[in-house]
């Protein structure tokens, strides 16, 4: 019984995985459903290189789009309710541009809606004289020099103009402007404004109406980027709040901070608050200069990846974040990539080296410093990558296609690599906020998290370095290089591998690191040789997670699963590689 259920679950998860990965299990989801297959996408025109590949749950609206939608809504209401467009617009504004609500309220009780909104059908005041006293200027005017809203309270044109202009210049409250007669609630619509206001005021008023369509509507918001005029309409109820504006700003629709998937809004708010509270202590991190760990000369970081080479004659290669020798990092030594881990750094005594860090420790800021520095550095690294991406698209690709005598259409893999870097830097950055708040006593989770983060980070460093430095040699070369095609394969491979690592990381964090065992998220067998070589056109052999690990588990029993952290260890190891628990 049990095993059957397990089988069932496994299959479900498999098909879930296929949404994210290539369906390399041959379970039939490869064809037809439009999901891309990683490894083959390097030159696929339709891919946007983004981590978010699900159906878009939002629409970016330009000013023209907004006007068009607004006009359409007004037309719908005006047609269905058989009322003037002006009145339809008033009703929509009152009901926050919710077409259904207008319908509902109107057909439930038209009279009561008219009363609340101030849209009277018959004038409450009627007059048949040829001259009337204006209640504002106290002068008598011929009736044709006067006008009234739906209530029939007449005031002279000159007083109306003053009334309307004062209100418009007072701000968006003018959209709710009512008849000047004190107890009267008759609403003033756009037709009347157009009759009475100066051109400048009419323009202002119509902007307020446009703004209200976004600001009053609960499904839409303006893009928070400075100077950006796009708005985003969101499908309410969607789980993922990250949206990407046409101005290239990515933000969280829910809290309007920059996009922060996989970390939730509450944690982001907490983290941002923490950062501003500690900002004075952290200024030195943002200064972007550190002494070379070997020759002690100050080195400025002016590149995106963390692999720093000191200026000649020293030329020491080190990691910007942990100041350790670069040769100790990642795959080359076969060890864990560990510079994301706070505990490791502490054990190795790095935090005792510098005077400043000792001070930090005193102030119990040491731990925060570790995470903040990585958060901030990834942020600036992302900024740099964005610039590089632009420079790449505007200048370098053109140059490269000249020197390598290859059409620019063949250079798409480079743009994709950079897009991936930009996105990964963003995700990685937020995982440091996550790491800071991950309770220290949750050892299993912490270890699992740091493992995934480390994998992702080291993959990203390789990718970033390849896109930044190796690419430069081809741009600078005088003529076509025979290695260029190998380079293409390598960069495209690194791009998809890194994407995979990050998808694992994001998914694990979004599920609260809870499904360590079941979902096939565990980093089983991730350390495959093909990552290092960067060979293998489609990179399919190096999938981490899901399917591969399961087939190994189920099939040849070459692994054992750690009881504590569920890491799938090789048969030969007697101690868990992740949490060091004995088999």
């Amino acid at each position: 019984m049990d095993s059957e259920d397990d089988m069932h679950d496994a299959n479900d998860l498999e098909s879930l995985d296929d949404d994210f990965y290539s369906g390399e299990t041959g379970m039939g989801s490869d064809d037809g459903d439009g999901d891309y297959e990683f490894g083959n996408n390097a030159s696929d025109d339709s891919d946007d290189g983004n981590l978010n590949r699900q159906q878009e749950n939002y629409t970016v609206l330009s000013e023209d789009d907004i006007r068009q939608r607004q006009e359409e809504d007004i037309t719908r209401i005006s047609t269905v309710l058989s009322i003037e467009r002006d009145h339809a617009c008033i009703l929509l504004r009152h009901y926050k541009w919710d077409v259904d609500k207008v319908h509902e309220a109107w057909f439930a009780n038209e009279e009561s809606v008219r009363q609340t909104v101030g849209l009277y059908e018959n004038p409450v005041a009627r007059t048949f004289s040829r001259e009337l006293l204006c209640g504002i200027c106290f002068e008598r005017h011929p009736c044709d020099r006067m006008c009234a809203a739906s209530c029939g309270h007449f005031f002279c044109y000159s007083c109306w103009r003053g009334y309307v202009s004062t209100s418009i210049n007072d701000g968006p409250g003018c959209l709710m402007l009512r008849c000047p007669d004190p107890p009267c609630g008759a609403i003033i619509g756009q037709n009347m404004i157009n009759l009475l206001a100066s051109n400048e005021d009419k323009e202002k008023y119509s902007r307020y109406i446009l703004r209200s369509y976004i600001e009053d509507n609960i499904t839409s918001k303006w893009c928070p980027a400075p100077g950006c005029e796009y708005a985003v309409d969101f499908v309410m109820g969607s789980v993922n709040f990250d949206v990407s504006c046409n101005c290239s700003h990515n933000f969280c629709w829910n809290c309007t901070e920059e996009a922060h998937r996989p970390v939730d809004c509450t944690m982001v708010a907490k983290w941002i608050l923490k950062n501003s509270a500690e900002s004075e202590n952290m200024n030195w991190i943002l200064a972007n200069s550190k002494p070379c760990p070997k020759c002690k000369r100050p080195i400025e970081k002016n590149q995106g990846c963390m692999h720093i080479t000191c200026t000649p004659p020293c030329k020491f290669e080190f990691c910007w974040l942990c100041l350790g020798a670069w040769t100790d990092h990642g795959e080359r030594t076969g060890g864990f990539y560990a510079c994301n881990r706070y505990e490791t750094a502490k054990q190795e005594g790095e935090y005792d080296e510098a005077e400043r860090r000792r001070e930090m420790a005193k102030n119990s800021l040491e731990r925060y410093t570790h995470y903040y520095e990585r958060w901030a550095t990834n942020q600036s690294s992302r900024q740099k990558a964005l610039q590089d991406l632009q420079n790449m698209q505007n200048v370098q690709l053109d140059k490269l296609s000249d020197t390598q005598s290859q059409p620019e259409s063949q250079m798409k893999f480079i743009t994709e690599a950079w897009l991936q870097i930009v996105e990964c830097r963003r995700v990685l950055k937020w995982t440091y906020a996550y790491g800071y708040y991950l309770p220290e006593n949750e050892h299993g989770k912490r270890q699992f998290f740091e493992y995934l983060q480390g994998e992702a980070e080291s993959g990203l460093e390789r990718l970033h370095q390849c896109a930044e430095k190796e690419l430069q040699t081809f741009i600078d070369s005088s003529g076509p290089s025979k290695d260029f095609n190998d380079f293409r394969t390598k960069l495209a491979g690194l791009t998809s591998v890194t994407r995979n690592y990050f998808e694992n990381l994001v998914r694990a964090l979004e599920t609260g690191l809870n499904d360590v065992g079941e979902s096939g998220n565990q980093p089983t067998c991730s350390r495959s040789s093909s990552i290092k070589s960067g060979k293998g056109k489609n990179g399919k052999t190096r999938t981490i997670g899901g399917t591969t690990s399961r087939s190994l588990d189920d099939g040849n029993h070459s692994h054992w699963s750690c009881e504590s952290c569920t890491f799938a260890n090789t048969k030969s190891s007697m101690v868990c590689q992740v949490c060091h628990r004995r088999r």
């Binding site: 504002i136 200027c137 007083c159 009334y163 004062t166 409250g173 000047p180 007669d181 004190p182």
Partner: protein
């Protein structure tokens, strides 16, 4: 100077205030500035302010009647909607102002406010608290202040 191009509306309002004064209210323009009014309001009967004579100043800004007049108590008064600078919390002096309202309506509204203090929309936090916690005692204080400061000396 300031009076040379006074809008007709202000002239008419002033004439009417002088010729048909509202009961318990007097408002007369200052000699050198026709936009500045010296106002007296009698404490309404059956209110804690009964028997008091309250001085106020009222100023018509340049934008009047599109903008509300500026009014403030000069006499000290113990009232939850009036602060110690004499500023008044009254909707028609703020967002509910309409150019079809007049000096007369404003002063009548202020008089009505003396009859019906509204501690739920306070300007003076402490007095409002007092009013809500112990209305009898607060009313006593208001009467006391009326005797002390508004006995029309």
């Amino acid at each position: 100077m300031a009076n040379s191009n006074l809008p007709r509306r202000i002239i008419k309002e002033t004439q009417r205030l002088l010729s048909e004064p509202a009961p318990g209210i007097s408002a007369s323009p200052s000699e050198d500035n026709m936009r500045y009014f010296n106002v007296m309001v009698l404490g309404p009967t059956q209110s804690p302010y009964e028997g008091g004579v309250f001085k106020l100043e009222l100023f018509l800004p340049e934008e009047y009647p599109m903008a509300a007049p500026k009014v403030r108590f000069l006499t000290k008064i113990y009232h939850p909607n009036i602060d110690k600078l004499g500023r008044i919390c009254l909707d028609i002096l703020k967002d509910k102002w309409s150019p079809a309202l007049q000096i007369r309506t404003v002063l009548l509204s202020i008089q009505a406010l003396l009859s019906a203090p509204n501690p739920d929309d306070p300007l003076s936090e402490n007095i409002a608290k007092h009013w809500k916690a112990n209305e009898v005692e607060a009313v006593e204080t208001a009467k006391e202040w009326t005797r002390l400061y508004a006995s029309g000396a």
